[in-house]
Every structure is written in C-alpha cells, then in structure tokens.
C-alpha cells in the first residue's frame, strides 16, 4: 500500500513536489514572511534564486495578488486540489526535467502496484468463492465424499454431491426446515444445514482404485474396501421445541447418546469379499459421487443385471403445462419410453441411463388404457428453483365417453356421463372427522385438505430450454404443501388426536 508522502502530493506536472507541500492547503508564500532563501515548500523545493515575479526580493508583508491564494480552495485536503497549473508560469529551469520524470515513474509504478495487488487478491478471492467443483477422477470424488463425512463437514458433503442431487436436497431441506420452524416443531434458530443429534466420522478409508468399474463415459463405480465409519446419535440435540417434545414424547426422549462403529473391511469380508460400491458421475468434466446412481447400482447388482449400454435421450416439452400433459398422456398410453424422455436429464439422469432396461421390463406388463386427454388447462406457480403446474380443468375421453374435472377454489367438480359431483375441502373434513371429533382437530384437518386441494400440483424444471416433469420435486412438494397448509395450533391438535 503506497500512500503519498506525508502531506505530500504527487502533482501531475511536478512529481518532485512529493513532500514539498506538507500541508497541501498551505500557501505557496506566506504573507508577511520574507522569502529570501530556498523555500522547500514553494515550487516543489526548488530554490528561488532566479527572478521571482511575485516576490522580487522584498519582504512580503501584504497579500500578493499573483500568489495563488485566490485559486486555493479552502478546506481542500492536502492533496490534489492545489492549483498546480499556476506554477507552470514560474518557468522552471530545464534541468528539473530528469527529476520530474523519475518521480512520475515512481508514482505510476506505485499506482500500477496497487491495481495489480488489488486485482490479484480479487482473483484469489473469486477462485476461493467459486462453487465447490467436482473431482478430477472418480476415486477422488468418492474420497472427497467420505472425507467430508469423516470430518463431519456437512457443507462439504452437500456441495460435493452431483449438482442436480445437491439442488434437490438443499431445496427440500431448506423448505422443510422453514415450515417446521413456522409450525413451532423446530426451534426458531435452527440452521437448515445442521444435522444436530447425528454425527458421522470416518477413518482410514481405502478404495480399490484398480477395481473401479467404468460403466460409460459419465458413470464409474468406485469400490471402498477398508476403513471405519462411526455413527453417533444424541436425540437430546435434536432441534425440537420443548412444547413439541412434551406433546409428541410425553414420557420424554431417550437422550442417551449412542455410538456405532462399522469396520468396512469386516463388512466386505462378511459380504463374500464384495466391496462397498459408490457410484460417481461426470458432470461438465468433473466427477461427483451420486446417491441416486449408487442406489440404482445396488438395485442392478441385486437383480443381477448390468447397466444398459445406451440411455434414453431426454426430450422435453415447450412449456411446463405441455410437459405435464405429454407425460400424463404417455402414462395412459403405457408409453414408458416417452415418460422417461420427459424426466429431467440432470436429476433423473439415472432413469435415462436405466431407460432401455425399464422399457424392456415393462413390456408385456403394461398396456394402453385407451384414454385420450382432450383438454388440460393449467396454471403455474413458482416454487424453489422450479415451476409448479396446477390443474384448472381436465377432460378425457374413452370409447366416446367424456370425463371432466374442474377445480373451483377449494372444490373439485367431476362430470361423468352428464352427472356432476362436487368435492370440497370442508365436506371432506366433516366426513373424516364425524361428530365426535374435537373442533380444533376438525379445523386442522380442514386446513390440511383445503391447502392440499388448492396447492397440490406437478413440479416441472427447465433444462436447456425444455421443460421436464420432476417426480422427486413433485413428491417433496406434496410434503411441503401439507406443512404449509397447517398452523402451529393444528400440529398440536393433530398430536393430541394421535395420542
């Protein structure tokens, strides 16, 4: 960090003034003071040996009209606002030029150094702040996952997962935590990322690098062969409110901490030498551990099947509503391939990869219903990172018969063979509860059903400009919608009902 010399200024036309104007706003000449000798504070420290137009060797006892007093803005700081231009008129000797250049160079170098240092530190900060990326190899990805677990690094664990899975989990986690806080189930100060009461630690984990199975260009199965995983749980650390604990666990929670250690080598030995498999996926040139692919891999292993060679390519729709309609029609037609095409290629990539096998398994097991959707009117709502499609009107026909369902606020009206039946939230609550049910419980159920009827929909996501139906987001949205429909007193009423 380079600052100008104390009180000094690096004037654009005379760098040698550095330090020469200690108080910046100081006058070039002090009225009343004789200026007979060299005046360091004047004219950049150059002795005034030559003719001084404004001070011809006489004591300056009064205001000097040629002094730059008039141009000296009072209150200006020690730098910068000096009327330097005025000094040019004094006519410096030509010998001053080399010194000026040296000072100017120093000043420019200092400024460049400041800019370079600032830019360097900024780039460093940006690099540190860039989203935690995947790993260079499948083994490194799996290692980073288990290291994150081993160090209890929740943030590293979440950010280290495949991007689509990470988004899914963080969305669900934050939305659920927010609602549980509102419903006074969780304490108000709970961090959505904290897994209080549960701790995982790993030690000495080893992978069989040579045994890693490369399924295709974006999927590799790594194999964990040794190390220990320790799971500790302490229910007393769960972020539940006292009131919720009293209602849900009247006898209290068993708060005794429990610890269990799993020796991977022993487990592998027990499992006839079969290692723990962790699937890793390649996204944009980087490897990430994948929960979904790991589950699917174990499913295939159990079924003694292998991964299909080619996936079913994603083929989304132009709008969220169109995606839902296409998927519903494909499901009614038992067109499994089209159903898979309409699933998001990022978060449901595993289903696309397993697609050909799923289609083969479904052959002969499913058949078209013959139902044609003739009308599907929808409305959309934005949910966390996605778009929810809500039903307005649905019409379908089969063998000349038409069925229609219309949503009207908290009611659904179904028209079959010219006969209309209406189903409303209040009616449902009455039927569910009967006459014996307490009013507060009835109110809770009514709130729940009303909220579900009004806000349940199908969640769609946009990938590369096309819309896809997300089954996992749709399911988790049902859970969040249910929580959003309730009030804190409803939770208490429902807990009393359970008791």
């Amino acid at each position: 960090v380079t600052y100008p010399g104390s009180g000094g200024q690096w004037p654009p036309n005379d760098p040698n003034q550095q330090g020469g104007q200690p108080l910046g706003g100081y006058p070039q000449q002090q009225p009343g003071y004789p200026q007979t000798g060299p005046q360091p504070a004047q004219q950049g420290g150059y002795p005034q040996t030559g003719p001084q137009p404004a001070q011809p060797g006489y004591p300056q006892t009064g205001p000097q009209p040629t002094q730059p007093y008039g141009q000296q803005p009072y209150g200006q700081d020690a730098h910068g606002q000096q009327p330097y231009g005025q000094q040019g008129g004094y006519g410096y000797p030509a010998a001053a030029q080399p010194k000026s250049r040296k000072g100017l160079i120093t000043a420019v170098v200092a400024v460049v150094a400041i800019v370079v240092a600032g830019a360097g530190v900024t780039v460093w900060a940006l690099n540190r702040g860039s989203a935690p990326a995947g790993a260079d190899s499948p083994t490194a990805a799996a290692t980073s996952l288990v290291n994150a677990i081993g160090q209890g690094d929740v943030a590293g664990l979440l950010t280290g997962l495949a991007p689509a899975e990470r988004d899914l989990m963080s969305t669900l986690n934050s939305a659920t935590t927010k609602e549980l806080q509102r419903l006074e189930v969780y304490k108000a100060n709970v961090d959505p990322n904290k897994i209080e009461g549960l701790e995982l630690k790993t030690e000495g984990l080893q992978f069989d690098e040579g045994g890693a199975e490369k399924v295709n260009d974006h999927l590799t199965i790594t194999k964990l062969v040794a190390g220990t995983v320790t799971l500790s749980s302490d229910a007393s650390k769960l972020p539940l409110t006292e009131e919720f604990i009293d209602l849900a666990f009247p006898r209290g929670i068993n708060s005794k901490p429990e610890t269990k250690t799993i020796d991977i080598a022993k487990e592998v030995k027990k499992n006839k030498g079969k290692p723990i498999r962790i699937a890793t996926v390649n996204v944009d040139g980087e490897w990430y551990p994948s929960l979904f692919y790991t589950i699917a891999d174990y499913g295939l292993l159990e079924a003694k099947e292998s991964w299909p060679k080619t996936p079913i390519a994603a083929n989304g729709a132009a709008t969220p509503g169109e995606a839902v309609r296409s998927l519903a029609q494909a499901a009614l037609d038992a067109d499994i391939e089209r159903v898979i095409e309409l699933l998001p290629p990022d978060e449901m990539g595993v289903v696309h990869d397993l697609g050909p096998m799923i289609v083969d398994l479904a052959k002969g097991e499913t058949e078209s219903t013959g139902v044609k959707i003739t009308k599907l009117e929808t409305e959309t709502a934005t949910v966390e990172g996605a778009t929810k499609v809500l039903l307005k009107e649905f019409e379908a026909e089969k063998d000349g018969e038409t069925v229609s369902v219309t949503k009207d606020g908290e009611c659904y009206a179904a028209k079959v063979e010219g006969e209309t039946n209406q189903f409303c939230a209040d009616d449902a609550a009455q039927e569910l509860g009967g006459k014996r049910m307490k009013p507060e419980v009835k109110k809770a159920l009514s709130n729940l059903i009303k909220g579900m009827i009004a806000n349940t929909g199908v969640v769609t996501t946009e990938v590369d400009g096309k819309w896809y139906v997300s089954p996992i987001r749709s399911l988790t949205d049902v859970e969040v919608t249910a929580l959003k429909s309730l009030e804190p007193e409803d939770i208490k009423a429902l807990l009393k009902l359970i008791k």
């Binding site: 690096w10 200006q76 730098h79 860039s130 990322n193």
Partner: protein, 158 residues
Amino acid sequence: VTKGSTRLATTAPAVITAVGLAAVVIGMFLPWLRSGAVLRDSFQVVGVIKSLGFLRGDLLDLLLSAWFGVIPVVTITILAYAVGLSRTSATICVVLTIFTGTISGGATVERGGGEGPLGIAGTGPTVTLIGSLVALVGAVGIFVGLRVSARTIAGGES
C-alpha cells in the same frame, strides 16, 4: 496549530484507515464457517451458499455477490487517496466499512458457542469487524484532518 500537528492530523487517520482496511481484507480470508473439522473463509462460504441455492433471487443473494466487490473497492479507496482525492477516498471507505462491518457484526453476534457440526467461526468475522471499525474511525479522522488543514490555511500558521 503547528505545521507538525496539521501534518499529523492528515497523516495519522490515513495510516489508521490503511491498517483497518488491511484487517478487513485479512479477516475475509480467515475462517468464517466451521463445518465439522473444516474451516472455510468468507469467500468459500459465499461459494457454498450460492452453490446450494439457498438465496436464489433473494436480496441477500445480491449482497453475497457484492462481497466479492469489497477488495476492488478497497483498491479504489487506496488509489483515490494516492492520487490526492482523500475526501472521495474517505467517503468510499465509510460506505465500505459500514457494509463490511454490518455483515461481520451480524456474523459475530450470530456466532454460536461452538456446538453442533456446522456454525459460524469467530476469527474471520471478528477481525473484519474490528478492521471495519478501525477503518471507519480513520476515514472520519481524514475528514477531521481536512477541516484542520482548512482552518490552518484560513488562519495562517501560528
């Protein structure tokens, strides 16, 4: 008022500001988040929050992006002072330190007692907060120093 005291009035605040700003920048690279045994600095925390998408489209999302602008603004503050625009430099510094001080102050207050696997670490926010306060005092001192200089000019050297 002597020449020396006037010089001190303009120089000392600049030094204090520089020290404060240095502490702000250093503090930003010290631990802000404790996740298990792993400590992350403020920029890594911003990266984690952004990648997890907690603040999608939120005003806080904008503030997090602005966090990366702190160092360029510190550079501009120093440059402005270096080229003689000390009043401008002090003004930028005041705005900057209010921003960094508010965020680091909030993080310092929210810092838990070290329980749980995830929490705010103390070092980074505390150093940044102290740096912000010091730089703020320095910036105010620069304004005061400018007034002293102005009075000296107006009244003549005594």
